[in-house]
Amino acid sequence: MNWNSAADFFAMGGYGTYVWGSYAVTLACMAVEPVLVVLRHQRARRELGGAPR
């Protein structure tokens, strides 16, 4: 383990803004896209008169 404390971990050796800025946007995209496709699939199912599932 490289980190002495949680604060140390979040600071990322002074590069926190860049590292967490990258990870946060990646996480956001990869969390939103699955929701969007599932909603689209459910809408398609409802329009065919089925359960959204």
Binding site: G13, Y15, G50, R53
Partner: protein, 255 residues
């Protein structure tokens, strides 16, 4: 039934729809497990880089995103071409389902690259060959999406999109070899099939696991989108109404 017949069985939306539905939860679970392992190795176990400090940890998402952006483009162009050449409807649907996910990974490669470039190069952006060709890839994805949605006749739109995707695929080797062909600020490949990787093994492992996680994620998302587009297109077909009516209501399932 002959082997050939069985092989092409899943080439119809009617047969592919339930198969994809069964596979999606598995790909989603694999993606989650691999991503968690990669994050543990990359963020907690991998040592700080001697020259770049902890800024280098962006590599664990930057490189997988960039690889996926190129891979998905090739796969999209391939299925678009198959859909055009053999008039295979499912192939064209898959090509369309890939485009938004490919565009997202391209955006992420550019975004994480900018956030990595600022602390290490001193600039968010530079018009070097690698960065510029990756930006062109984003425009190709956007152009494909805009083109297929602008044409009302579905199959004509598929063919026009296929032409754009095939012509645009020339950009993929340009991205890949740009760091060799031109003098770029962007570094050369750290990992190649012909040479030993130029990084510590725990870093390499984290990066490869994240790549597999992104790959499984892409399968899950693209399969759900493929199912959605198949239903939207075939909304008068018996298989679609059957598929929707037959499935029992299951709470919490996301497929």
């Amino acid at each position: 039934m002959s082997t050939t017949l069985r092989f092409f069985r899943f080439a119809s939306p009617a047969a592919f729809y339930p198969l994809a539905g069964k596979l999606v939860p598995w790909f989603a679970a694999i993606a989650a497990i691999l991503a968690a392992t990669a994050l543990y190795l990359g963020m907690l176990r991998a040592p700080t880089d001697a020259t770049q400090g902890d800024a280098y940890r962006i590599i664990f998402i930057h490189v997988p995103a960039a690889w996926m952006s190129m891979l998905l483009y090739v796969v999209m162009a391939f299925w678009a071409a198959i859909g055009w050449a053999f008039n295979a409807r499912l192939a064209s649907i898959v090509a369309r389902a890939i485009a938004p996910t490919g565009a997202m990974f391209t955006f992420l490669a550019l975004w994480t690259g900018a956030l990595w470039g600022k602390p290490t190069w001193g600039t968010w952006w530079v018009w070097d060959a690698r960065l510029t060709s990756e930006l062109i890839l984003l425009f190709l994805y956007a152009g494909y999406i805009a083109l297929v949605s602008a044409i009302d006749d579905t199959r004509r739109a598929d063919r026009a999109g296929a032409l754009l995707a095939i012509v645009g695929s020339v950009n993929v080797p340009i991205i890949y070899f740009s760091v060799i062909w031109w003098n770029t600020l962007h570094q050369g490949a750290s990992v190649s099939v012909t040479a030993a990787p130029k990084m510590a093994s725990v870093m390499l492992l984290a990066m490869l696991l994240m790549t597999l996680a992104f790959w499984a994620y892409a399968f899950a998302v693209i399969f759900v989108r493929t199912r959605a587009i198949a239903l939207e297109r075939d909304n008068h077909a018996a298989w679609a109404t059957d598929a929707v009516a037959r499935a029992p209501v299951r709470q919490g399932a996301s497929s």
